[in-house]
Amino acid sequence: MSYLSPLQWMFYLAALLAVIASIKVISGKNSVHALLYLVVSLLAVAVCFYLMGAPFAAGLEVIVYAGAILVLFVFAIMMFGLGQDEMLHAPKISSLRLWLGPVIIATTLLIQLLFVIDDSEMQTKLTSMVIDAKQVGISLYGPYLLAVEIASFLLLAGLIAGYHFAKPDGPDEHLGLQKNSNHHSRQHSLLGSSHKSGANK
């Protein structure tokens, strides 16, 4: 038990990188840097999946999680327009130092992947225990068909809810807002006057 195979070494290294990157995600101040660390964390978890014999899940993790969901985060952050206040407090020219952490972790993961692909003995060991996409597909569209349908309904609901909450309020947005605020202030003044009259009574 004291001897660890190279496969296990690589798994523990990727797990350590995932934990470090996740800690950096929740402890970061700048949202874009935290997002960068989240991408690296997901990539490290994808390496773990690959070493656990699930290359299909690893590919999905990279494509869907790191590729699609994180791009959604990036778009949202761009729409928030947090750029000004965060740039104000950011150091001016030290951009290299800020990028250093994710770059180091991502490079380590890349070296790990190249090592796995290069080592033929590890390849044979990995392919002996792999669950490929065919088995997953047969299972997904066989006994889990109902779950797939429910998941599609969930995605449709997410689509509609996302559109409903994020849509612009139309060209008369300013008008509507002003009318609303005027209405509110009038209501408040009415309330205040009624309170006053009540107090006077």
Binding site: F11, V19, I69, M129
Partner: protein, 102 residues
């Protein structure tokens, strides 16, 4: 039988889940709370994949795909709500959303 013992996979999943949970509890920025939720969902996926690889069944990966769709839908709705919040409060502080407090 997988080369990596299931214990260690579950320990990794627990550590990542705890990190994500800490982020959800501690952070005030709603964007960071969403990111921590992603970390938590990811940890659950690790547990499923590890169990599936130990028993050599495809069910673990099927569950992971379902978790993936759940995360996608959750992020879409969450980010849309965040955009609304930014529009109305000009801030992402979750303490501003306390109107329902008694």
């Amino acid at each position: 039988m997988s080369a990596i013992p299931l214990n260690h996979v579950l320990i990794l999943a627990c550590i990542l889940f705890a990190i994500g949970f800490t982020g959800v509890i501690v952070r005030k920025n709603t964007l960071f709370i969403l990111m921590s939720l992603e970390v938590m969902l990811n940890a659950v996926g690790i547990a499923f994949i590890g169990a599936g690889s130990v028993w050599q069944q495809a069910d673990g990966q099927v569950m992971f795909i379902l978790i993936l769709t759940l995360a996608a839908a959750e992020v879409a709705v969450g980010l849309a709500l965040l955009i609304q919040m930014q529009k109305r409060f000009k801030s992402l502080d979750i303490d501003l959303l306390s109107k329902l407090k008694g």
